[in-house]
Structures are given as structure tokens and as C-alpha cells.
């Protein structure tokens, strides 16, 4: 198992170098001079030239790339923001707590609601409960998050004044964004749980459990759920990884200082180091979540654990 984890972590290295390369070349090829962006229109040609030399912007592409990767790998230095002059890693780290809180809350809400609703829908397939749940899952899935977010703000902050409409520092401020962001995740988890359970419930070992004289509740809880979990874990993991990359729309609507908003600002300002750092962070976050999901499989299914050697 440890060996497996070690191998997986090693295999992250080429992924990260690949991601960096792609982002690096994209930004390199995009028109626009970062020196001008940083120094402004009033700067003299001389100052611009000085900046280009200082930042190594005139070096060949490959030299710039290798320098960037080298610094990142050995010093943990992924550059300084052109705009704020602070280290990119600091910028991301200060935006990270809001993003991870938002992602975690949304996913927890989705698990707590989606899994039970999915299970009951599957057990009572074609019942009224099932139809209603599936209807709301469809609504949740198709409702754009910016629309839902605005509706929530209108109702709960403007009309009722129960929750603040922006910020993310108090618990009550976290409620609306988490709810808005989780709607889609709830819908996805519910549908996945339902279909996974439907498949498992019809399997032979469920019949075996019933033939033992086991109660229906325990048949579902002990036998069906454990087997239905794999696809649910997969989808929850993917959603969580996705949200860690920053929920750009939600963060914008509720003015949350998260990674998503940071990235949007950086792209607008052509703040190359920050954009690169941000994308790198998203790749790392996603890969780590994926690794955790794969490790979770081993606990859920002994057949998969047997393959982790």
C-alpha cells in the first residue's frame, strides 16, 4: 500500500511538468507585453527594457521555462505577482482557505442529502418520492449557479435579511454560497447513488442476504450500500477536485476572496506568474484529490485493494 502511494506521488511529477509546459507556452504565445502591463502606459521605453532584462523576459522560451521549473521544484518559488509584488505562493495560500471551505461545505451538504435521497429513490423506484426527487435533481442540475445564487441573495439577504450577501468569514456568510454551489453536486450525487443502488439491489448477493432472513433495512445498509459506494466515491471525488479549483461564478457573485476569483483577476491583469501558479495549484489539488479517491477505493472494495501492490 505504501509503495503504491509512493509510486502514485512520483507519477505526479511528469503530470505537473506537462501542465506547467502547456500553461507556460500558452501565455508566452499570447500577444501583449507583461512589462507594459506592469509598468503602465506612462513608463519610459528604458524602464520597460530594464524590467524585461530583470525578469528574463528576453531569454529564449526554453530557458525561461527551465528556470521557472527549477525554481519551483528546488526553492518552492513560483515567482512574484506583477501586480501586488507579493510571492505567488502567498497569494494562492491566502485565497485557499475560502475556496477549500466552500468546496468542503458544498460537498458535505451534497453527501448528507444526495446519498440518502438516492438510496430512498432506488428502494422506492417509480414511487411518488422517487419522481419528486428526480424532478428536483433535474432542476438542480440544469439551474445555472449564478441564477440560483442571485435568487438566494434576493430572497434571503435582500428580502428576509437572514444571511449576508457577500463575504466568507462568518458561518452565516457561508450558508448561501455553499447552498448555491451544492445544488448541482447534490443533484449529481443523488442520481449517481440512485442508479448505483438500483443496480446493486437487483444482484444475487442481495437475494442471498434476504434469503438469510435479514431485515430489509440491514440488507440495504450492510450489503447494498457498501457495494454501491464505488461510483459514488468517484463522483464525489471528482466534484470536490473540481470545486477546489475554485468556483469562479459562485465566488464572484458572493464576493468571496477565493482561488477562482484570484485567477480571474490574474488573467484580466495578464499577471503571468500568478496565472501559472494558479493553474499549477489547480493541477496539484486535482491530482491529490484523485489520489485520495483511489486510496479510498481500497477501503471500500477489497478487490481493488488486492491490486494495489
Amino acid at each position: 500500500m505504501l509503495k503504491y502511494i509512493f509510486r502514485r506521488v512520483l507519477s505526479l511529477i511528469p503530470v505537473l511538468i506537462g501542465v506547467t509546459f502547456i500553461v507556460f507556452s500558452l501565455l508566452y504565445l499570447t500577444p501583449g507585453d507583461p512589462a507594459r502591463m506592469v509598468l503602465g502606459d506612462q513608463a519610459t521605453e528604458e524602464a520597460v527594457q530594464q524590467f524585461r532584462v530583470k525578469e528574463g523576459l528576453d531569454d529564449p522560451f526554453i530557458v525561461q521555462f527551465v528556470r521557472y521549473v527549477g525554481k519551483a521544484a528546488f526553492k518552492g518559488d513560483i515567482g512574484r505577482s506583477y501586480v501586488t509584488k507579493r510571492p505567488v505562493s502567498d497569494e494562492i495560500l491566502s485565497a485557499f482557505p475560502s475556496t477549500i471551505k466552500l468546496a468542503a461545505f458544498s460537498v458535505i451538504i451534497a453527501i448528507c442529502l444526495g446519498i440518502p435521497f438516492g438510496i430512498i429513490s432506488a428502494i422506492k423506484q417509480y414511487s411518488l418520492f422517487d419522481s419528486i426527487t428526480m424532478f428536483f435533481a433535474l432542476v438542480g442540475l440544469s439551474m445555472p449557479v449564478f441564477w440560483l445564487g442571485l435568487l438566494l441573495i434576493l430572497l434571503f439577504s435582500v428580502r428576509l435579511g437572514w444571511f449576508p450577501s457577500s463575504g466568507f468569514d462568518t458561518f452565516s456568510a457561508m450558508v448561501l454560497p455553499s447552498v448555491a454551489l451544492s445544488a448541482q453536486v447534490i443533484a449529481i450525487v443523488t442520481r449517481m447513488t440512485r442508479s448505483s443502488m438500483l443496480e446493486v439491489i437487483r444482484s444475487d448477493y442481495i437475494r442471498t442476504a434476504r434469503a438469510k432472513g435479514q431485515t430489509e433495512g440491514k440488507v440495504i445498509w450492510r450489503h447494498a450500500l457498501g457495494n454501491a459506494l464505488i461510483p459514488i466515491v468517484t463522483i464525489v471525488g471528482l466534484q470536490f477536485g473540481h470545486l477546489l479549483g475554485g468556483a469562479i461564478l459562485t465566488e464572484s457573485i458572493f464576493s468571496i476572496p477565493g482561488v477562482g476569483r484570484l485567477m480571474v483577476e490574474a488573467i484580466k491583469m495578464r499577471d503571468y506568474p500568478l496565472v501559472q501558479g494558479g493553474v499549477l495549484y489547480v493541477a496539484v489539488a486535482f491530482s491529490i484529490v484523485n489520489l485520495l479517491v483511489d486510496l479510498l477505493y481500497a477501503f471500500v472494495d477489497p478487490r481493488i485493494k488486492a491490486q494495489y501492490r
Binding site: T208, R210, R222
Partner: protein, 333 residues
């Protein structure tokens, strides 16, 4: 019908599935008897309703779409169809246990085998978790699996071993009736023999009555005391094994026996019963077998044949052949 004490007496059982394609008459007016300590062979083609009957006895028919449309299942003098779900739960596993067809899929893949056996024991015996697990390991030894494999998962066992585990689960609480639904069909031939031998031994050891669902007349000859032949949801012939092999009367039974290839005979083609199994949503009128029957007379398409006793313990649902048999006997005497 005679003095032997019946463990199971199924009378006029009818089970239908309501599907979009129509009403599937899976089991129609079925009669079946099983005495204490006996093994009954339950023979019929795929789709004849054997498994539905077995699940029907366990009250495990998925509902909807399945529904009991009549009849009685008398087990130890009490009608199972009148029992509450809670009463049925203590009967399932505790009094009546079932071995399923495919051992590859009938064990929970994410649970160790000892826990799967222990679950059965905890449900029906007054023991704590540790004792249940200890008894589970003993059951594994009974079916010939070493105790050190108890903590293994099903995927670590071969097909034959898995079926042994399934048997251990079924026998763990010493059931009065064991229903084995084609327990060897999914196994290869050498393993089949081992598993059958094991079941024979255990049946004797535990003094369990057994219903052996199969379409293999060889298995019937080897381990069954009595045989019921099922066709399109009904039992068409019921007799003790010797009688059935020597003096079967129903044309369908005759067809089954004729289709066994004879080693002495040099033939390129297998003998078959002409025609196909009828569509269970649209059974023929009268006797369901009449379109395929070489003895059919005009009345066969009109009248549903009664299930009559032509000699003690031998019942047939074919008036035409039953009459011919009777005449033949009278002429002989």
C-alpha cells in the same frame, strides 16, 4: 394421499408477474409434496417456473411485478402465505434455506466469508458476534475449507469453493428444508461431482429435506428420492425416482428421456422434443403441452388436464396417456 408425513405441501399455487408485455404465468396451479428427510428432484426447462416456485416458497418473489394469485404453501402444517413478513424472516434461513445457482454472484464481494456465514447464525441463534464467527469457521471446516481462509473475501476463492461457502451459509442454522437452485450448473464437471457429493453427505449428516432444482436427469437419478417434472408453470408428473425412470407416463417426461443421447446408438443429431417452450404470457389453451405433443387429441386443446394419481405416489397431468396406461395394465392382468 398416503401416510407419509409431509414437510412441505404445495397446493394449487399460482404466481404471476404483471409486466408490460402482459401477464407472465410463471407458476400455474402447482402441486408439490415433500416428506421429511426426502430429496425431491425438480426438473424442467429454463423458464418452466422452477426458480419462481423456489422463491415463492421463500416468499422472496419481487413484488411488484410478482404476485401470488392463489394456493397454499403448507410447511410443517402451517400456510406460509398466511405468515407475516416478520414470521417469514425467522423461517428464511432458519427453517428454509436456499442455495443459489451462480456462486460467482451470490456472495457479497465486500464482506469476508466468515462474516457472511456469521450473519446467518446471528440472525437465527442466540449468540454474540464472537461466537457466531467461531461457528462460522466451524461451518467452513464442515464444507471442507481451511479455517485460515475465513477472513478472505469471495474474490479470493474459486467457483467451487464459493459454492461451498454458499452451502455453509445455507446449512449454518440447520434448516429443515434446503432448496438448491441448480447448485452445480455454473461449475465445471469435476467440481460439480465434488459439490454434489458434499451436498449428499451433508444432507445425511444434518437430516435435512431437500428440493434439488435441476435440468440434469443424471443428478436426479443419483441423489433424489422423488421427482417432479415441471412444464410451463405446472407439475405435469410426480413420482418416486425409480417409478419415474421406469414407467414415466406424461408425453413431456417421455420427450425428456428420449432426448438423452444413447452412447450405444450411432446418431449425428440429438433427439429433441419438437417445437419450443410456449410464451409464458400467452400459454396455449387446455394442456399447455398439446401443440408439441405426439399423443394430443382434440380435447387436449380445450380441457386443462387434472393432476390425477394413477398409482400410489405417481401423479400425472395427462388424461390421454393415463387412460392408455390404465388400459394397458388391465389388459396385462
Amino acid at each position: 394421499m398416503n401416510e407419509r408425513e409431509l414437510l412441505l405441501d404445495i397446493q394449487d399455487l399460482t404466481i404471476h408477474y404483471e409486466t408490460e408485455a402482459g401477464r407472465v404465468r410463471a407458476v400455474e396451479h402447482l402441486y408439490l409434496e415433500l416428506g421429511y428427510g426426502e430429496t425431491l428432484g425438480f426438473v424442467g426447462e429454463t423458464g418452466a417456473g422452477k426458480t419462481t416456485t423456489a422463491l415463492g416458497i421463500m416468499r422472496l418473489i419481487p413484488s411488484p411485478p410478482g404476485a401470488y394469485k392463489g394456493g397454499k404453501i403448507i410447511f410443517r402444517g402451517e400456510d406460509l402465505l398466511a405468515k407475516s413478513e416478520a414470521e417469514m424472516r425467522s423461517i428464511r434461513g432458519g427453517r428454509i434455506a436456499m442455495i443459489f445457482q451462480d456462486p460467482m454472484t451470490s456472495l457479497n464481494p465486500v464482506m469476508t466469508v466468515d462474516r457472511q456465514i456469521a450473519e446467518m447464525i446471528s440472525l437465527h441463534r442466540d449468540v454474540n458476534e464472537t461466537e457466531a464467527l467461531e461457528q462460522a469457521v466451524r461451518m467452513l471446516e464442515v464444507v471442507g475449507i481451511r479455517p485460515e481462509r475465513a477472513k478472505d473475501y469471495p474474490h479470493q476463492f474459486s467457483g467451487g469453493m464459493k459454492q461451498r461457502v454458499v452451502i455453509a451459509i445455507a446449512l449454518a442454522c440447520d434448516p429443515a428444508l434446503l432448496i438448491a437452485d441448480e447448485p452445480t450448473t455454473a461449475l465445471d464437471v469435476t467440481i460439480q461431482a465434488q459439490v454434489l457429493e458434499l451436498m449428499k453427505d451433508l444432507k445425511r449428516q444434518y437430516n435435512t429435506s431437500m428440493i434439488m432444482i435441476t435440468h440434469d436427469l443424471g443428478i436426479v437419478a443419483e441423489i433424489c428420492d422423488r421427482v417432479a417434472i415441471m412444464y410451463a408453470g405446472r407439475v405435469v408428473e410426480y413420482a418416486d425416482t425409480k417409478t419415474l425412470f421406469e414407467r414415466h407416463v406424461h408425453p413431456y417426461t417421455e420427450g425428456l428421456f428420449n432426448s438423452i443421447p444413447d452412447l450405444e446408438e450411432d446418431r449425428d443429431e440429438l433427439k429433441t422434443i419438437m417445437g419450443l417452450m410456449p410464451d409464458p404470457t400467452n400459454l396455449p389453451t387446455g394442456c399447455s403441452f398439446h401443440p408439441r405433443c405426439p399423443y394430443a387429441v382434440e380435447s387436449c386443446s380445450r380441457e386443462t388436464p387434472a393432476f390425477v394419481e394413477i398409482e400410489p405416489g405417481h401423479r400425472v397431468a395427462c388424461p390421454v396417456r393415463a387412460a392408455a396406461e390404465k388400459n394397458g395394465k388391465e389388459r396385462a392382468s
